[in-house]
Amino acid sequence: MTKIIKYVIADILRNRMVLVYTLFLLASSFTVFSLEDNSSKGLLSLLNIILIVVPLVSLIFSTIYVYNSAEFVELLVSQPLKRKSIWLSLFSGLAASLSIAFLIGAGIPLLIYQANMIGFTMIMVGIMLSIIFVSIALLATVNTRDKAKGIGVAVMLWLYFSLLFDGFVLFLLFQFADYPLEKPMIAVSALNPIDLSRILILLQLDVSAMMGYTGAVFKDFFGTSTGLIFSVTILFLWIALPVWFSTRQFNTKDL
């Protein structure tokens, strides 16, 4: 399996996209930090960039990569290799290269300007998000044969997680404004890894005070070690479940 991961990573590196992505992250992180005199303001701006760009790039790049390497996968499947290890190698290769790109692109500036708990959480969350969206991309591609359709599904998924979900939550909050929804909101936030990451980081910053009563409930829950363990577990589930489902489907897929 390590052999295949090696070839997948070598193949991804030969593709310039990941390099461009790293440079983009580097450029935007340094710009954001040098524009603001207060580095925690910079951190907030960077948070927004990360929460939008990292899922988008991970999702779209992985989807396109999986479709483009259909030949490679076909070649490997006719060889004495387990299908499971082919698929997991594809996942590991993508996850590793996108995480490393994030680590270099956003991790280095963060360590230079914010070498504290917040910066560290942000790096962890960025890496988790990269891997989560690789995993979701694999699930989307294994289900759709057509490349255009598959990329469409990936874009829709990104829209859902970045925009639609928040709209849906706001709608719920307004409709049921008469009820105490603060605690159920914790459960709802587990349904979207981007929201969960945002909460995790915002709670480390002082701005959580601006989130009102919900913010206080969140702080009460996510601020504790139980809350932290809960959210990290949920993030891991967001990685593991799509990978598990897609591996199962890939095992019986016709190539």
């Binding site: 052999k3 295949i4 070839y7 193949d11 030969r14 593709n15 483009n68 390497s69 259909a70 030949e71 490679f72 076909e74 070649l75 490997l76 499947v77 006719s78 060889q79 004495p80 290799l81 387990k82 299908r83 095992n251 019986t252 897929k253 016709d254 190539l255």
Partner: protein, 234 residues
């Protein structure tokens, strides 16, 4: 060596394979023939585990191949359209396959030599012509000296010289007692190769006969004429 029992496969409404059963043993050279879309490639892909049949079993050396992968170590497969990662060079693809197969015994690089592929090792796959890709597919299928060779349209796109080289190699391997499965539309070139014919149409196996029987039954000496006779008389 390979026993297929009642395999069926459906793609949407299309019945790609309809209760196909056959037995292939060592030393045979079997030609799978039939019109386009008759299920030949699907049958081959089922043997390789690339397509999972809806029903029926395939045994390789007495073991059901379902969810197995080790058995593919003994198969050399040449796909109809050889598709390789665009960014890799020929040398890298050959190295990668050698690395994956991890064969301890000596490699059979006859075809690499015969096709002079060693002069092209630095070329990227995306720059190659269809014929050169086909040569690489052929070289890879024979490289690891497998006991079973599965060749899907091996000579399509090859120039006459290379096609002749490949044919000689196939005959040489058959003489060594290997099982060779070929699909082809060019019947004339199968004449001096095959020992048995499997004729498929609309996913069904219409008939299978050894070449002697076929020639005797039809009274024709050429394979193409014999098949034409069968088509008009059955």
């Amino acid at each position: 060596m390979i026993i297929a029992t009642n395999i069926s496969k459906q793609f949407g409404k299309l019945k790609a394979l309809d209760h196909v059963s056959t037995t292939c043993s060592k030393g045979e050279c079997i030609a799978l023939i039939g019109p386009n879309g008759s299920g030949k490639t699907t049958f081959i892909k089922s043997i390789l585990g690339m397509v999972v049949p809806d029903s029926g079993t395939i045994e390789f050396k007495g073991k059901n191949i379902r969810n197995q992968w080790q058995y593919r170590d003994e198969i050399g497969y040449m796909p109809q359209i050889g598709r390789y990662p665009d960014n890799m060079t020929i040398g890298q693809v050959l190295d990668m396959m050698t690395d994956i197969r991890n064969k301890k015994t000596a490699l059979d690089d006859d075809l690499i030599q015969a096709f002079s592929l060693h002069n092209l090792l630095d070329k990227r796959m995306r720059t190659l012509s269809g014929g050169t890709r086909q040569k690489i597919s052929a070289a890879l299928a024979f490289l690891f000296d497998p006991a079973v060779l599965i060749l899907d349209e091996p000579t399509a796109g090859l120039d006459p010289v290379s096609s002749e080289l490949l044919k000689e190699k196939i005959i040489a391997e058959k003489e060594k007692g290997k099982l060779v499965l070929i699909t082809s539309h060019v019947l004339s070139e199968l004449d001096d190769l095959v020992t048995r014919i499997i004729y498929m149409q609309d996913g069904k196996l219409l008939f299978q006969k050894s070449i002697e029987d076929l020639k005797q039954d039809t009274g024709e000496n050429k394979l193409s004429k014999a098949i034409a006779w069968v088509m008009t008389n059955e």
